[in-house]
């Protein structure tokens, strides 16, 4: 077994069992804010205990260990084929160890071969950069939150949403309303304004690589992020949709160019069990530092 494979198995274990500190802080804050004696508070207490227990037992925070999405930033000339082969082996091994559920189903036959490896699984995105570093991020995104993602095409007549930022605000808030508690709130939104149908969703997911306290560099988008967060938390959907003060923990928005004919707003929802981790490798295999 290669050292890179060991490092990737450890990355998967850590992502599956340990909530990143920025997400943990946001959950603790929402527990403090919640009205005492409500079932919303009880639910958040169970969530808090679950986070602690998963870390201590080194077992999955959530049994739906989700889509396995790798983002790799690699130097020019890096052997992507070998990395991907190693990642597939690491995923199979991590599944045997119980860090991942047997979670990948053949869409035609309905069979689950228990390896988590198959066409389109795991998902691996490479991006070259001019630094000599190899940076690997991993996101595990469960099906419950994936299912409440939504893509709107503007103008949207029913929601009276036009092709401007106010129209974007209307459809994003509609997505929060439609999701209710089904995506395991309090959640985090990743949004892409523009792009095509595929890249819109792709970029919306990449927003989850940003830390929760991170502020948007574009003033218009920063304002929209803060507005949606505040407004969503006034809707009273609350943790698990039980009613309560925290519906969202964060909102992250990016923009991509679009065609004159298209205006998509793509919204991905991440559950409270927000599993992301990453590392920078020293050379090509040993972990130098963790990213989250």
């Amino acid at each position: 077994m290669s050292e890179l494979q060991d490092s990737l198995v450890e990355l998967i274990r850590r992502a599956s069992a340990e909530i990143p500190s920025d997400v943990n802080d946001a959950i603790i804050q929402s527990l403090e804010n919640e009205k005492k004696g409500t079932i919303a508070e009880s639910a958040l207490k169970i969530i808090e205990r679950n986070i602690e227990l998963a870390k201590r037992k080194s077992q999955p925070i959530c049994q739906d260990t989700g889509s396995i999405i790798f983002y790799i930033e690699c130097p020019v000339g890096y052997d992507q084929i070998t990395f991907e082969e190693t990642a597939r082996k690491a995923v199979t091994l991590a599944t045997k160890k119980g860090y991942l559920r047997q979670n990948s189903v053949d869409s035609i036959s309905g069979k689950n071969d228990g390896t988590n490896v198959g066409p389109g699984a795991p998902i691996v995105h490479f991006h070259q950069h001019r630094s000599p570093e190899l940076k690997v991020s991993l996101m595990l995104k469960g099906g419950g939150c994936e299912n409440v993602g939504a893509q709107y095409s503007l103008p949207h007549e029913k929601l009276k949403a036009g092709r401007d930022l106010d129209g974007c605000r209307k459809v994003i808030l509609d997505a929060v309303l439609q999701a209710q508690g089904k995506g395991c709130g309090p959640g985090i939104l990743g949004v892409c304004i523009g792009g095509d149908r595929a890249t819109g969703y792709e970029y919306s997911k990449q927003q989850f690589l940003r830390r929760i306290p991170d502020r948007n560099k574009m003033p218009e988008l920063d304002e929209l992020e803060q507005d949606i967060l505040k407004t969503a938390n006034e809707l009273g959907i609350g943790p698990m949709g039980f009613g309560g003060k925290t519906t969202l923990l964060g909102v992250k928005i990016c923009a991509a160019n679009r065609l004159p004919a298209s205006y998509f707003v793509s919204i991905s929802y991440m559950c409270w069990a927000f599993r992301r981790q990453g590392f920078v490798l020293n050379g090509e295999s040993a972990i130098e530092r963790w990213l989250y």
Binding site: I39, S42, A43, I46, I47, R49, N50, L53, A54, K57, Q59, P60, I61, C62, Q63, D64, T65, G98, R101, Q102, N103, V105, G110, K111, N112, G114, G142, G143, G144, N147, K160, K170, L173, D174, L177, Q180, G181, K182, C184, T231, E234, L235, G236, I237, G238, M240, G241, F242, G243, C271, W272, A273
Partner: protein, 191 residues
């Protein structure tokens, strides 16, 4: 906190109301997408599975075999229930279910079946796989494992003080309907 103990009687269920916190002890069976479609399409319950006065849990657990060959549940939170909406009412009626555990709530057809046949929807905390796995004291058996795969199989579990919240009771009340209505009104004020 109200303690619910297997077998779950109609009287126990009728006494529950939306907003109650419960702790469930006894035998429960997991069943999610494949199982509901199978039962709805006329599939027979495998011998040994008895849902009468029972609870079905929308869950696809992580289950490992230890060195002695015993199954052990290592993660067991609920999956989203609304996908079973086309089937759940029939399953409640056909098998005399008293409870459904899941997350996210269900719709009018399930609510009507809960009212007609004396059943409740018990919302457990989505994502809380470790807290809930700790409540699973024993895996008694597994059914349809080969056909449906581990997450979709029927696992017969013995649970102790499994925490859940009544969000749809046997009297036609639904917290999910209530929150949707309140949040829709609130949103209208902000648009």
């Amino acid at each position: 906190m109200i303690h619910l103990t297997y077998p779950f009687t109609k009287d126990q269920v009728l006494a529950l109301k939306v907003g109650d916190e419960v702790a469930i002890s006894g035998i429960i069976f997991t069943g999610r997408d494949a199982v509901h479609k199978y039962l709805h399409d006329g599939g027979e319950l495998p011998p040994g599975v008895n849902l009468k006065e029972g609870i079905i849990y929308h869950c696809g657990p992580v289950v490992l075999k230890d060195e002695q060959g015993n199954w052990k549940v290592t993660a067991a939170g609920p999956t989203t229930s609304i996908r079973e909406e086309p089937y759940q009412g029939d399953v409640i009626k056909k098998f005399n279910l008293r409870g459904v555990i899941g997350k996210g709530g269900m719709g009018d057809r399930t609510s009507a079946a809960c009212k007609e046949f004396g059943c409740v929807y018990l919302h457990s905390v989505g994502g809380a796989a470790q807290v809930l796995a700790e409540c699973v004291k024993k895996v008694r058996n597994v059914y349809l494992l080969e056909e449906f795969g581990s997450p979709e199989a029927i696992w017969e579990l013995e649970v102790e003080n499994f925490p859940a919240f009544v969000t749809m009771d046997a009297h036609g009340n639904s917290l999910h309907k209530e929150v949707l209505s309140i949040s829709s009104e609130q949103l209208a004020k902000h648009i």
